[in-house]
Symmetry: C2
Subunit: 307 residues, 2 copies
């Protein structure tokens, strides 16, 4: 399985030693390496009747890549640990691998190692390394009162797509595709760091939840402008079909891996970023002047919904 | 759970940013980072009736650390992805975490990140970073005809301990303990690299299997001297009780995470290393002049034996 996963793939220059030895060696010119990991479990984080294995592989890499760019770094290498039942079709493992390589290649990153084990359900654990390129890491804990709050990338699309799949409604291909494979605005992470972003995170748990992390870590309040969070047209279309309000997807949907950041008040936001609010003294995230009382976002140990 | 796992722990100087943000930042003074990952699955790689959760955590870190030292590097940071059923007792998660920190601290390494997810069985995925300290990585593919073959650390102890547990025999505490928590000869990896080791690996699948990897990667044959592989006294004692031959544990038992390496013929082996054979022209591992025809070692997709 490992031979099939690594043969015929090309590695970037940063991969000094690829798969096949006890460990891999990756160049980190900066002298500091940014690292993160995420585990995806079948039936909880993905369903193979809603996503192809190739899409699951791409999504797993994308969500890890988003963690790196949200620090202002760039992903250079992925490691993949893959657990599956022994009767898992080879085609499923191959397609997962293809998806992993496809998204990693899009980033110019290598897949440098990992392992395969037997497990009761498919488990995909991905680790990513990133290079800061001389920039300072952009943390969650350094937002300042008076900063602009901005986002890059799509909000609520993945949640809308999941709702469409759960309801079994036809159509709405755009949001379903967004749920199957996120499209994080990768380049907006390093550009935000270069523009002086004071704090940054990716939107993996939902905008309110992830901005809430910035508030808690920075000891600030964030006031969001509801007019700046108008749901995109495909969300309105899906919500109309499902009889719901699309603003909930915008505010609480994770998995699009948009980026959310704070910038000094005088900074011109870089390409791809749009202003959605301001940092104030206080605590928590406020929407349209009031504290949000609806659901906040994804909880790791809540009921499974196979996002 | 994450708060409980990280609060009150101290990080080494190499941890520039620890857990709590989208990613961690680790110093890599060398400019090259060594990386590896391993996944452990409950019921397959460990059983909580045979090992305490604290032992499972220590073992998971030890086996990853061994992959780093077998490159001639030193482990600096671990990431832990932990999947478990929602009814997993908090005490189990805490003890696992304590074991992870305990072994990482022994190495002077940090635990810098990871995540927790819900899964049907306990899954522990560990990733490790290491620093080469200016040394060249020691690969599997660079053994040369005429080299000495040497090992550092225990052979067959873990396999003997597993056999004792499987048989349900009392006693033999030393080998059972070795199965529960390996004791890799960490410092022997960098010292081998400094002494000019030409190839190195850790013994995770069994001596024959892992030396077989060196043979295949280097295009050489290895001739082992059976007299140099005399089983240690606790193995003889366990084998006598179980009515088996302990040499099989020495040759095919993994999980002790001994180190096996090749050295130029004129090198004085560093402390902790002992000569067990020689590299010759040809293919495969030969024992006492003959090709071994018994079992070779651990297969990831063989029947579960909960090692």
């Amino acid at each position: 399985m490992i031979d099939r996963a690594v043969s015929g793939r090309s590695q970037p220059d940063t991969t000094l030693l690829g798969p096949g030895d006890d460990a891999a060696v990756v160049r980190v010119a900066d002298g500091r390496v940014v690292v993160s990991s995420d585990m995806l479990v079948q039936g909880r984080h993905f369903r193979l009747d809603w996503s192809t294995p190739e899409q699951v592989g791409r999504k797993a890499v994308a969500q890890n890549g988003a963690d790196i760019v949200s620090m202002g770094a760039w992903p250079t290498a992925f490691l993949v640990s893959f657990g599956c039942p022994p009767d898992t079709p080879v085609a499923v493992a191959d397609a997962l691998t293809d998806g992993i390589w496809s998204e990693a290649s899009r980033l110019g990153a290598g897949v440098v190692g990992g392992d395969t084990v037997q497990s009761d359900q498919i488990v995909l654990s991905i680790m990513v390394l990133g290079d800061l390129g001389g920039r300072d890491a952009v943390l969650r804990s350094t937002a300042r009162v008076g900063d602009q709050v901005a986002v890059a990338g799509r909000l609520g699309w993945s949640a809308a797509g999941l709702a469409v799949l759960v309801a079994g409604v036809d159509g709405h291909a755009e949001v379903v595709a967004a749920h199957q494979v996120p499209d994080p605005p990768y380049s907006c992470g390093p550009s935000a760091a270069e523009s002086g972003a004071t704090a940054m995170t990716d939107v993996s748990d939902g905008l309110l939840a992830d901005l809430g992390h910035i508030c808690a870590a920075s000891g600030v309040q964030i006031d969001l402008d509801l007019a700046a969070l108008e749901p995109d047209p495909p969300l309105h279309a899906a919500a109309a079909d499902l009889g719901t309000d699309p603003i909930v997807w915008v505010l609480t949907g994770g998995e699009d891996h948009a980026l959310a950041a704070t910038f000094p008040p005088d900074v011109d936001l870089p390409d791809g970023w749009r202003r959605i609010g301001v940092v104030a003294g206080g605590t928590g995230v406020h929407v349209g002047g009031r504290e949000w009382t609806g659901p906040v976002g994804w909880e790791s140990f809540g009921p499974a919904d196979s996002r």
